[in-house]
């Protein structure tokens, strides 16, 4: 795995420079005046990200993020993840801090990793929701429980495209999490050259109760 990562690492390191205006650094222009950019669950972001991110970057895979590490940072499926690395206590709210790495992706030499990209770079007050862990242990023990995360690969037919199992709220843009060298291995797509994700993948939220359709006579 290390070899592969090295190989891709070198190739993508060069790409990182190309990506300075990459995945997330978007100015969301509206489709038309008076049309909110949030319509269609913010699907516009997918096209803009797809346009702005070089194909080679989307196709690259470092293999060093996995689903277990992903959920280790969360308290329930969909909760905002903790910050897994050291940050200064007084880390500034200025967008050129968290977002200088997490809006664009690329390689971080200090941590020797590719940086995961946020699907919602328009929210600049990062520490409103994301906090680091400064200490292990609890104030008092907890009885907290939650449900299982969505299962992967739940295609309805053998070989059919799996539905989107999670809510799209704050995760409207597929590109940052599902493509690129920092994508979680288990949820990386192998066909990042296709930009219209929701052509094949539709939201079937795994935790939402299914309502049976009953035809009125």
């Amino acid at each position: 795995m290390k070899k592969a990562a090295d190989k891709i690492g070198k190739r993508t390191l060069a790409l990182a420079a190309l990506c300075l205006l990459g995945v997330g650094g978007l100015d969301l222009a509206m489709a038309a005046p008076d049309i909110p950019h949030t319509f269609d669950a913010g699907g516009e972001k997918i096209f803009r990200s797809y346009n702005a991110t070089p194909q080679e970057y989307m196709a690259a895979d470092s293999g060093n993020r996995n689903l277990m590490g992903f959920y280790e940072l969360r308290q329930y499926p969909g909760s905002p993840p903790r910050i897994p690395h050291a940050v200064a206590q007084s880390f500034s709210e200025q967008p050129d801090n968290c977002l200088s790495c997490h809006a664009k992706g690329g390689y971080n030499a200090e941590l020797d990793r590719f940086v995961p990209v946020t699907p919602h770079p328009e929210n600049e007050l990062c520490t409103q929701c994301h906090v680091p862990q400064r200490q292990e242990g609890l104030f008092v023990e907890t009885n907290w429980q939650s449900i299982n995360p969505p299962k992967l690969g739940r295609s309805f037919l053998a070989g059919s495209p799996p539905p989107i199992p999670h809510s799209l709220q704050l995760r409207e843009n597929c590109i940052p999490c599902h493509t690129g060298p920092a994508a979680v291995t288990e949820i990386r797509v192998e066909h990042s050259s296709r930009g219209n994700c929701r052509q094949c993948h539709v939201p079937v939220i795994s935790t939402d109760p299914r309502l049976e359709f009953v035809r009125k006579q």
């Binding site: 903790r82 940050v87 206590q89 200490q135 008092v140």
Partner: protein, 784 residues
């Protein structure tokens, strides 16, 4: 700047590169397994057994601050298992903060109180809750018989639901006939109330959060919104990013995250905001930036008493005396506040004062001022509210979209319960006890003789705890608040509560320093374990259903009060069934507010929506009051109608600068300032039981200016003893941490019961609002 920060990083658990790689390697085997067997999950949390995997989402307002974000709570079986922001709620439009996203975890601390406890021979023993309620009723009856009706008291909270506060008011004021009813919101927003009442004659903001989407200038007056109202602050940032004509000015006594994000950070010496506000008004008049049409039609000028004291002595009494003045007298009053003179008092350069005045004075700019505890917890809290309103009134920047002097609150129902229901000694659900018509209205709706309602207010919060210490009050019932952490000059009030013949009842969800002094502990239902309503900072009433059952014998505060009221013989006033009581209480309470100035939405409407703003008239919410385009209560036919005052005008007040109750001197040479952090709400009794929040902010600290720390010979994390004339506390130093105080000031977050900073603070208060000042007292420091 960043380098210094990173050097001062010792206290942060470092997950460095090596740890990162190690954790990646440890999980890589499982990662492979997951790739082979899709569907296997490896989440860290404990899985709910027998869960269907389906989640039902139910709406509620967030449990914590006064912003009032709409949340959707994910329910699986009878447990809350997830949270997301409610996209249909206009307050937060689907976004929460870190407390909100993890709020449901606060329900599940292992030490939840599930059984009633009674002190017997010094030990707390578990009893059935019915027995505890019998004991409370008997003790109240007995105490009133022996010592009179004003020997029993209730101390509630801005975290009370509206029905909680309503039944407390009905029981204490209507049935028992005592005005011994207060709430911790006295410590939190009573200066905001007296500010509104003196300037406008009617409480609560004229504008709403939508102002954020229109304003060009935001001035945060002593208000660290980035941490305390993060959802509103990020809406400001989003506006600044989206529009190219928005700037944020942070006007504060300490450098914070809000200062970092602001376009301009201006620091002033504690208490001198009074002088600076007057200097801004001086500049506006001096440069003729006055909106004369507005001023001549809608504003009258007034002055009150000066040299009004600080309330540090028992039985302190003060009544302001208003005198009308004219514009020329007001203008003459301001001559003491030229920018050059105020620069000397405040430390704010004349240039910065003129700059702030020019922003307010620019007719092309819409200005919104935000404030919260910095202006409320102030020994001249009422005055500073008046002075900031003066700025908006001179320029006519009020009651229109984006022009908004906006008083934020800190608790989810400080407005809804304490201000609107009136759970303070002088208040009633409509008006005050001193007003005969208000007493008659209450007696009629409550079905009690009007003679029951005592026209004389008794004790405000600080005086109530002094009365408990003196022995004038023998019985106190405390709900949804933790005064044994939050009272200023805490040593005195804890010792008072522990005296022999005092009887303290505490309704709580977790053990706290307040349950430590209790004679009876009632286990309370928390938040969505009961039905109720909150009311947020923008006049929005927000209903929540009972979403999960309370644990053990835990009971809602409303129902505890009803049970005790019935035991005291008031079945007629508290007749409702357990199934229907919240709806019935709401419809009874709503009668107090009938009419276009304050009409509340019917119960059925509250059930459907993620919050409804009042006045709610003909099915419409009112976003901008006093503005006839939006507010149906306006009747004068002019462009504004300030109908709160009898003269139909908003009042400009000549209020001088007066110093703080206690300022640094040769012996106690530092200011002590206290407050909150984003991770924790108030005393942390809920948020510290949320793993993410505790681990991100495990304990409190004292922030020092780096130069003061060097002078003291203290480095980050070393212990510092903070000593005042009242007490001392020893805690770790934080240098260049979350905030940086200027030289000569220290700052301490108050959430941590291990470091009771309120043993050090001073119980001085604003003589008009009776709200204590937690931001200013004098201390000295020693390296411990």
């Amino acid at each position: 700047m960043m380098k210094t920060n990173q050097e001062n990083n010792e206290v942060i658990m470092k997950l460095d590169r090596r740890a990162f790689i190690k954790s990646a390697a440890a999980s890589s085997a499982i990662a492979t397994a997951a790739a082979i067997f899709p569907g296997i999950s490896f989440a860290e949390w404990k899985k709910q057994e027998g869960a269907s995997g389906m989640i039902t989402w139910k709406k509620a307002p967030c449990r914590f601050c006064g912003t009032g974000c709409g949340v959707l709570i994910g329910v699986s079986g009878d447990r809350a298992v997830a949270v997301k922001g409610d996209p249909n709620c206009s307050v937060n439009k689907g976004l929460c903060c870190v407390k909100g996203y993890h709020s449901v975890q606060a329900l599940y601390g292992k030490d939840r109180l599930t059984k009633a406890k009674v002190r017997r021979n010094g030990e707390m023993v578990e009893v059935p809750i019915k027995e505890a309620l019998d004991i409370i009723a008997a003790k109240m009856k007995d105490t009133m018989a022996k010592h009179g009706k004003d020997s029993v008291a209730m101390y509630g909270s801005g975290q009370w639901t509206i029905p909680d506060g309503y039944v407390a008011s009905k029981l204490f004021k209507g049935c028992l006939g005592t005005n011994n009813l207060e709430a911790n919101a006295r410590l939190c927003m009573s200066s905001a109330v007296t500010g509104f009442m003196t300037s406008f004659g009617i409480d609560e903001p004229m504008g709403c959060y939508e102002d954020i989407d229109y304003a060009n200038v935001f001035v945060t007056w002593g208000n660290n919104m980035a941490e305390m109202h993060p959802v509103l602050f990020s809406r400001m940032l989003a506006n600044r990013k989206r529009r190219n004509n928005v700037e944020i000015i942070d006007f504060a006594t300490r450098t914070t995250r809000t200062s970092q994000a602001a376009d301009r950070s201006i620091l002033f010496r504690p208490q001198t905001d009074l002088a600076v506000a007057n200097a801004i008004c001086y500049e506006i008049i001096h440069n003729n930036w006055v909106n004369w049409d507005f001023l001549n039609t809608h504003v009258s000028f007034h002055k009150g008493k000066t040299d009004i004291g600080y309330g540090t002595e028992d039985h302190f009494a003060f009544t302001d005396k208003e005198e009308p003045i004219n514009f020329e007298e007001y203008k003459k009053f301001l001559e003491d506040y030229t920018p050059e003179k105020v620069e000397k008092i405040s430390g704010v350069s004349a240039r910065d004062i003129k700059y702030m005045a020019s922003l307010y004075g620019d007719p092309t700019k819409k200005v919104t001022s935000f404030w919260c505890m910095g202006m409320n917890q102030h020994t001249r809290g009422t005055w500073i509210q008046n002075l900031v309103y003066n700025i908006h009134l001179l320029t006519g920047k009020i009651s229109t979209p984006g022009n908004s002097p906006f008083s934020l609150t800190g608790q989810p129902s400080a407005c809804g319960t304490v201000r609107e229901v009136g759970t303070l000694t002088h208040a009633l659900p409509h008006g005050g006890v001193a007003n005969e018509h208000d007493r008659e209205m209450a007696a009629k709706i409550w079905d009690v003789p009007v003679s029951n309602i005592d026209p004389k207010p008794t004790y405000h919060t600080v005086e109530m705890f002094r009365a408990l210490d003196r022995g004038d009050i023998k019985f106190m019932w405390i709900q949804v608040t933790n005064p044994m952490v939050t009272m200023p000059n805490l040593n005195r009030y804890r010792q008072g509560a522990l005296k022999d013949d005092r009887f303290i009842v505490v309704s709580e969800v977790y053990p706290t320093p307040t349950t430590d002094v209790a004679d009876v502990i009632l286990p309370a239902a928390m938040w969505v374990e009961q039905e109720g309503m909150f009311g947020n900072s923008e006049r929005r009433t927000q209903h929540f259903a009972q979403i999960v059952p309370p644990p053990g014998e835990a009971m809602s505060d409303t129902w505890q009060l009803i049970e005790v009221a019935r035991r005291l013989g008031f079945e007629k006033q508290f007749p409702w069934s357990e199934e229907e009581h919240i709806g019935k209480i709401w419809e009874e309470y709503r009668r107090f507010h009938e009419g276009p100035k304050h009409n509340m939405a019917p119960y059925t409407v509250l059930l459907e929506r993620p919050g409804v703003m009042w006045p709610f008239v003909d099915g419409k919410e009112t976003r901008w009051r006093f503005n006839p385009k939006h507010d149906p209560a306006c009747t004068n036919g002019k462009d504004f109608d300030f109908y709160g005052k009898a003269d139909n005008k908003a009042w400009i007040w000549a209020r001088p600068y007066e110093p703080a109750a206690e300022s640094p001197d040769a012996e106690y040479n530092f200011w002590l300032n206290t407050g909150r952090v984003i991770e924790h709400f108030h005393t942390g009794s809920m948020t510290r039981r949320v793993p993410v929040l505790h681990q991100a902010m495990p304990s409190s600290y004292v922030e020092l200016n780096p130069e003061d720390a060097a002078g003291l010979g203290v480095i980050n994390g070393e212990m510092v003893k903070i000593i005042s004339r009242r007490g001392s506390v020893t805690m770790p130093a934080s240098i260049n941490g979350r905030g940086v105080p200027p030289r000569g000031m220290v700052f301490v977050p108050f959430f941590d019961e291990s470091y009771l900073i309120n043993e050090v603070t001073l119980d001085a208060f604003c003589p008009i609002s009776k709200q204590p000042d937690y931001k200013k007292c004098a201390v000295r420091l020693e390296k411990a």
